[in-house]
Symmetry: C2
Subunit: 312 residues, 2 copies
């Protein structure tokens, strides 16, 4: 079982390889929204997303034989880029299985770091089948994108850094997809600051975690028809129990609000972030009473957006 | 005559009112371009641009009567927002004369800070006539956008901060329009670091400073047909002598390169910046031999871009 100690250990392992990313604030947004917001900017992280935290923690704990055989993973984009980057850095190869509806810029990002791409259909079965075939063929080591204790521990370091810099936070909102980041965030935040509230933000159009909690068992997504391409995965068997036990609430967000909050962050904070994380600001705005006069940490998970697909 | 001492004094006056903005770097851009780049991010400055430095330095040195009469300025947008913000902060009014082709988002930015807007034709004569009429009518104090020693001293604090954080810079590139920022940058940089090279970057389509240096007298713009809406002004009588004496070169940039460098900065640095400052990266790329293996500071002057007018 993954614990806060694993997050501390992960932080020691990865800290030379990642950025302790900046935390941005905006007086004018605070005044408008009535909360005191702290944006943890993982869009400025190496490879453009938080995914490098978990990937580095996992890969640097492989043994020499495992490393020699190369690394295999499945990814909607950002995890793939992170794995390719670290694999290249330690001198091994990486094979990245990606859904064939992955945005072009995320494919290019994986290619930039030397990852070899294999396409699958955009559903869990095709992804798992392709993965199994690849492993049987090449014998590489699988680095799962989220359903893995080392990944969870690595992702938890983002919230650890956030609370270390802003120790009096009342709440954190982070996106939820497969649940690696949310699990890590929960373990870090609730250990460092027992009273803190932690919320997951999830697209209405890919609401498996919300429904899984409601039904007390893992439910599949009925659609993954969301602009938040990083939030189309299904909560995992390792991540779900952690989330179910610790999360204060999953907040659902419409596509319209995901896009308008993305516009707001680009315009006001002057940063490029993905819809997969503007969702956290949308969740706050949709539940503004809950966060009134509170200090709220918002994890902006990545900035790998295709600038040729502006959604407004 | 404005000197480095004025910049030091300005920094003392304004430092409680501005951000010492972050300096971003990118390993992957450095590798691609063969230079070691330091981006001074004034897009994260209060009101979204460096203009608040000069405006604050000027306005805080007005006497009580001058303040009481209100402040008047002409602006293509960012200086107007900065003046409106500071005027509001010290409890006086501001009247901002703007060209009637100013982008909508820059008009909204002035309105957000409580500036009262008056439109003029987009040429110097209409601007000066409107200004004169307004001053005669209301008796307010004029804060010139660039052709003023206090403005120049204020703008010079950006380069001062940059060199204080990166003392071994070989060169700085900054945009040039009316010349306030470039004059301040030259005075700061050449005093703090005598061997440093300082370049101005100017649109080919608004190349008055380039031609003024060539002809050894102030020349008018033949066109101002550039997407870099902050770079359409004409170099001033106070700024031109400082630039002529100190600048290493004015580097001209085509519209196409302004846009492609803007795309590159958005995509790779994950920040929103205006075409009026992506021009500095374009100037570097067009003169890459000059900057090979050099440490180069690039002043990113602002981030107030209309996100509904994506140019690619």
């Amino acid at each position: 079982m993954v614990t806060y100690n694993d997050i501390e250990k992960a932080h020691q392992i990865i800290s030379d390889h990642i950025h302790n990313t900046p935390i941005l604030t905006s007086d004018s947004l605070d005044n408008e929204l009535g909360s005191n917001l702290f944006f943890k900017c993982e869009n400025f992280q190496k490879t453009g997303s938080f995914k490098i935290r978990g990937a580095t923690n996992s890969i640097l704990q492989l043994n020499d034989t495992e490393i020699k055989n190369g690394i295999i993973t499945t990814s909607s984009g950002n995890h793939g880029a992170a794995v390719a980057f670290i694999a290249d850095k330690i001198g091994t190869s990486s094979k990245i299985i990606m859904p064939n509806n992955t945005p072009k810029n995320k494919i290019e990002n994986v290619q930039r770091y030397g990852g070899e791409i294999f396409y699958c259909e955009p559903n869990i079965k095709s992804r798992e089948d392709t993965l199994e075939k690849m492993v049987q063929k090449s014998g590489g080591s699988i680095i799962h994108p989220y359903n893995d204790e080392k990944i969870i521990a690595g992702q938890g370091t983002a919230a650890k850094e956030l609370i270390e810099k802003v120790p009096d936070l009342d709440a954190i909102i982070c996106p939820v997809s497969g649940g690696g980041l949310l699990s890590g965030t929960l373990l870090a935040a609730k250990n460092l600051k027992p009273g803190i509230k932690v919320f997951g933000a999830e697209p209405e159009n890919a609401d498996d975690t919300y429904r899984s909690i409601l039904n007390n068992k893992i439910m599949s997504n009925e659609t993954t028809d969301t602009i938040a391409d990083g939030l189309r995965a299904q909560v995992g068997t390792v991540t779900f129990p952690i989330i179910k036990e610790n999360v204060d609430k999953i907040l659902l967000v419409s596509e319209e609000m995901i896009i308008s909050s993305m516009y707001m962050i680009w315009q006001r904070l002057k940063i490029i972030i993905e819809p997969s994380c503007s969702i956290v600001l949308a969740a706050l705005m949709l539940n503004s009473n809950k966060f009134l006069n509170k200090k709220v940490g918002l994890i902006l998970t990545g900035g790998n957006y295709d600038l040729k697909q502006i959604p407004w």
